[in-house]
């Protein structure tokens, strides 16, 4: 019954989305208030019903109901509970339902809480949101029903791809999805405001929390995804420029640009058309991303659920939404473009440069990601890898960091160059110290890492400058947010630079008892032993790493073997062992057994890396997210709203 109930709820929710859309359009055309009164409750109900349907799907996975096809294909009765639950969204159909749930719930939130917008803009926004949902409802109900039953229930499921059996990955897709969906809400706001021609500070302030919120989740998703790829795939890298990584980076870049331009619109009522355009671009990029991942157009480390029919469907949806929004923009842009003037050398000016750089990087990453497809259509098979991206994105990112140094120090509207220089000496000094230190003592360091670490020093100090001479307790939260986020960029940049400049590596075939040195560690290979996990067996190595000061640490890299399910061959995964020290991480991978000349397997392949400051990369990502979260808290004005409500209640009591 549960599966049928879930499907029924989805149909009702889709009907409600239809109702919201029709009533919303009718209201915008006729202005009849009773139509508007329909849209809000319908949006809320749609969100709640979709969420209940999603909970029902999770219930089916938790109960291991093998009469449901999706459960059979993606779960197994012996799986640990966390992965049974995560199995609900670790596949195409489930992740689409998750997407719709988040989309519906955010529509409900907008309907309940949004008070800053004019009523007609709000209704138009909700109608746009309903139109987005409808496309995905159609996708889910017509081409990928998650509740589909099997005629005969098999005794057990096929399990989840063992590579995905990892707590980090269980939460990774939802995080990214919340980010994507937040952007789609920003898109709906842009469409709504275009329809009613209300583009100004009020609209920007209403949109900003959604941009900030989605960007927080995208940041967390990318950071966590990078860390997952780093420790789970066992290859030791933190960014592969894989298409699937790129398609999460592209909306992030668009979101970063949007975040900054929406601030200009909110505080200065400038860059109005550009902000709207960026909202459309950002949403398009998250659609393009979904399309690339879902259609299997590109080869990738992580792509799953590949089906040409689904690709075509998504492509059609994409054309309707993006094409529609761009057409609307073309008709209305003239009406909204005029905004407040500003000088080139001003906070606005630097934010415009920031936006140009971010969108250029975005375009270059997109180009690199799509180029192989175009080349293949012309008969050449080509792969575009890290060298391309490092070459094009690296220098631009460094220039972007320089803008980040000066931007926050400029005042709004107009500033003068001499004053700017007087604010910079400490930061420039810091950068000089880093540069000379690296040149004198760093040995042979590549140009990009060298510049990266130098700019990191500059940004690190300069990002703190806005706090200088302020009363720290009275400094508004958004300022704190900016400072922390920019400092996070410096931390991540320092990590990337140090890791690529000073990495140390050893690759050996070691016999038990043998000692290998890497960087300052001497690592003794104590041997291997077999172990048994909940649904796998493994060979686990024991390594004892000793530092020059005599402290020693034990690491257990392992190679896991998952039994083949449904008659398939067994799957192996590699579990790297990590030792985190203040100065970096020791990363150990256990490879295959090596057979000697006499036929005995007594050596094992071992790969050891010393990665200086590598964890700063993810620390930086976390700081960026924390900064954005503080900014969001400051902007949400929850405290003010609460105070105002209390004051009103007190008044009512006396009246």
């Amino acid at each position: 019954m549960i599966a049928e109930l879930g499907l029924a709820l989805l149909w009702i929710a889709a009907a409600l989305a239809c109702l919201s859309l029709v009533a919303g359009i009718a209201y915008v055309r006729t202005g009849k208030d009773d139509l508007a009164a329909l849209v809000r409750p319908a949006s809320v109900a749609q969100g709640v019903l979709t969420a209940v349907a999603f909970l029902l799907l999770i219930t089916l996975f938790v109960r291991s109901d093998m009469s449901v096809e999706l459960v059979v294909r993606n779960s197994h009765s012996l799986k640990p509970m966390l992965f049974k639950v995560a199995g609900a969204w670790g596949n195409h159909e489930g992740s689409m339902l998750l997407w719709l749930t988040i989309l519906g719930l955010s529509g409900a939130l907008v309907a309940i809480f949004e008070k800053r917008l004019r009523n007609d803009t709000l209704i138009a926004t909700l109608a746009a949101q309903a139109a987005l949902s409808l496309g995905f409802f159609a996708f889910l109900l017509f081409s990928s029903n998650p509740f589909k039953r099997l005629p005969v229930a098999p005794p057990d499921g096929q399990g989840l791809n063992p590579l995905l059996q990892d707590p980090g990955l269980a939460f990774h897709p939802p995080t990214l999805y919340i980010g994507y969906v937040g952007i789609s809400v920003a898109f709906s706001f842009a469409v709504g405001a275009l329809i009613t021609r209300e583009i100004g500070p009020a609209f920007a302030r209403a949109m900003r929390p959604w941009v900030l919120g989605s960007w927080i989740f995208l940041t967390l998703g990318i950071t966590a995804g990078s860390y997952w790829a780093y420790y789970e795939l066992g290859w030791g890298g933190w960014w592969f420029w894989d298409p699937v990584e790129n398609v999460s980076l592209i909306p992030w870049l668009a979101g970063a640009a949007l975040l900054h331009s929406v601030s200009v619109t909110a505080t200065r009522n400038a860059l109005r058309a550009w902000t709207v355009m960026l909202a459309v671009i950002a949403f398009s990029m998250s659609m393009v991303g979904t399309f690339i991942v879902r259609s299997g157009l590109l080869t990738s480390v992580h792509s799953f659920a590949v089906d040409p029919e689904r690709g075509t469907f998504l492509l059609a949806l994409m054309f309707i939404y993006i094409g529609g929004a761009l057409t609307l923009f073309a008709f209305r842009a003239g009406a909204v473009a005029e905004g407040k003037k500003f000088a080139l050398l001003s906070r606005e000016g630097s934010l415009v440069i920031n936006n140009l750089l971010l969108t250029t990087i975005l375009a270059l990453v997109l180009l690199g990601t799509l180029y192989p497809i175009v080349a293949e259509a012309m008969g050449e098979k080509i792969s575009v890898g890290p060298p391309y991206y490092n070459k094009v994105a690296g220098p631009l990112a460094l220039i972007l960091c320089l803008v980040m140094v000066t931007g926050p120090l400029l005042s709004w509207r107009k500033d003068d160059g001499k004053k700017l220089w007087s604010r910079l000496p400490v930061a420039v000094l810091a950068a000089m110290i880093v540069l000379f230190g690296l040149v004198l003592f760093g040995g042979k360091v590549g140009v990009l890492p060298l510049l990266g670490m130098t700019v990191a020093g500059l940004v690190g100090v300069a990002s703190l400058a806005p706090l200088w001479g302020r009363n720290l307790r009275r400094t508004p939260l958004p300022t704190w947010g900016m400072v922390i986020a920019h400092f996070g960029v410096a931390v991540a940049l320092a990590g990337m630079g140090a890791e690529s400049a000073f990495i140390k590596e050893r690759l050996v075939a070691a016999a038990p008892g043998e000692t290998v040195t890497v960087a300052d560690f001497s690592v003794k290979f104590a041997g291997v032993k077999p172990i048994v996990g909940p649904n796998y067996t493994a060979i686990e190595g024991t390594l004892i790493a000793t530092t020059p000061s005599g402290a020693s640490f034990t690491l257990h890299p392992a190679a896991r073997t998952f039994p083949g399910l449904m008659g398939g061959p067994p799957t192996e995964t590699n579990e790297a062992a990590l030792l985190t020290r203040p100065g970096g991480q020791l990363y150990a991978v256990l490879g295959q057994p090596v057979t000697g000349a006499d036929g005995t397997a007594d050596r094992y392949q071992l790969r050891l890396w010393w990665k200086p400051l590598v964890w700063w990369i993810w620390l930086g990502g976390a700081l960026i997210a924390i900064g954005a979260a503080l900014s969001l808290l400051g902007r949400a004005q929850l405290l003010e709203i609460w105070r105002a409500r209390r004051a009103r209640k007190a008044q009512e009591r006396f009246a």
Partner: protein, 145 residues
Amino acid sequence: MKAKHQRLILALVALGGVAGAGVLAASALRDEAAYFRTPAEVKAGKAEVGEAMRLGGMVAAGSIKRQSDGVTIRFTATDGKASIPVQFTGIVPDLFAENAGMVADGRLRADGVFVADRILAKHDERYMPPQMGEMPKNMKLVPGE
């Protein structure tokens, strides 16, 4: 400065930036994009010695030989029409095996051996080669270094 002039300057800066980025991208793509070749194409002389490229094919049965250092392997990559010897130093990805698909990033050496600096293996147990001539588009890759 008049608003009109300022907008013109901004537009020119943006235009210059975009043009610069375009040139940068074009040159980087020309230098850094690696061709994806099959053993037959390499044998047909489509690959230059020393040029970065990707080689895709199946690992021939019985061809994996480990060298005495324990970390270097040699195997034969084949597409059913031609075979290329491949040498790789490192730990192969979990799904690298004989009779399975693989992609190698590396360069062709003058003696005809393909020296790989990274091996990617097909990550799907249901994989069956449809035509040996070309690797399927939808393969998932797992890096190994």
